[in-house]
Symmetry: C2
Subunit: 198 residues, 2 copies
């Protein structure tokens, strides 16, 4: 019987190995050679699955992002407007110590993306879709009469997203650099400013 | 006459070369070998000035930070309280396209700092001193009767600093990812929330 190679599984193995190396030592530790060794591949064999290092980093990052997306989608399922906005804002706050792994992957990705148009475009797409989701919740919340603010939806979302990104970066540096209580309070204050008093 | 070597100048030359490489290609491009070549040094000669790569990155970052510190100090000279707070918040916003270089250096530094206790501690000191300055302005502003907020000074500063860091990261990725008008408006909104109406 011929040996059957599960190529999807091998791609996953490579991303697992990359993830492991990124978490331990950042972008410099994740060389093609180290990734191959960690995944149990011959050095040249990685190229059958990913043409270069940026493609692997992109793959690891996109997988992480899809997991976060699934998490938020599950948390907001069946919700709309202000309720969905609140859940989405809180579900993506990097407050749990366990999130530090994901924050570090993201930091390594950001560092590469600043110098790679392809990675940067990928992040731009993610950012655009994240923002569009929050803007939609805000539009619904205004329709529902739950939100009233002279500030545009785009500007409100810019504030929330920028704050979230800053918190993620601080958490990647050290869990003692980010204060989960403060972050939750920043979201409270943000929602209080736009919520219609009942 | 013996050749006189200006060691301070040579350290500056090494930091200039590192800066150049970091701006062009990020942390991976700034290898000891490339830094030596760019600065016109023999490969082993760098070690007389900096023991290792992290020390060079730290040096380049600290120099950039001192320049930012000088810029803010000059902008707030002779000021206190609310006026100093406002100037300090606006002076550190990464809005000008020219700031992208500094933001990219910072992103490379952050990526390394997540995996180096020494670099991380250096950033922790910077963060603590940045926060302490803003907290002091807030204390003065409350003394002067210019600020009234039920939120603690530490929490207010956490919000401003986290937002600034998020904006810096987005600017390092691409100047079109950060909207200077929105950022200025976020600072306006922040100040409006705590300012005593006259």
């Amino acid at each position: 019987m011929p040996k059957i190679i599960d190529h999807d599984q091998r791609r996953e193995d490579i991303l697992d190995a990359t993830w492991e190396l990124l978490v331990r030592g950042g972008i410099e530790a994740a060389t093609m050679r180290e990734i191959a060794a960690q995944a149990g591949f011959a050095n040249g064999a990685l190229k059958h699955y990913f043409p270069g290092k940026d493609d692997i980093i992109k793959g690891a990052y996109e997988r992480s992002l899809h997991r976060l997306g699934d998490h938020v989608a599950a948390a907001t399922e069946g919700m709309r407007g202000l309720a969905a906005l609140e859940v989405a804002l809180r579900a993506t706050l990097p407050t749990a110590a366990a999130d530090q792994t994901a924050s570090r992957i993201l930091l390594s990705f950001w560092e590469r993306a600043a110098f790679s148009p392809e990675l940067r475009d990928g992040y731009g797409d993610h950012l655009a879709s994240w923002r569009a989701g929050l803007v939609q919740y805000l539009e619904e919340a205004r329709e529902d009469g739950d939100v009233d603010s002279p500030v545009s939806n785009e500007q409100l979302v810019d504030e929330a997203v920028t704050l979230n990104i800053g918190a993620t970066l601080l958490q990647a540096l050290g869990t003692d650099y980010v204060n989960g209580d403060y972050l939750a309070s920043h979201v409270d204050a943000f929602l209080d400013r736009i919520r219609v008093a009942r």
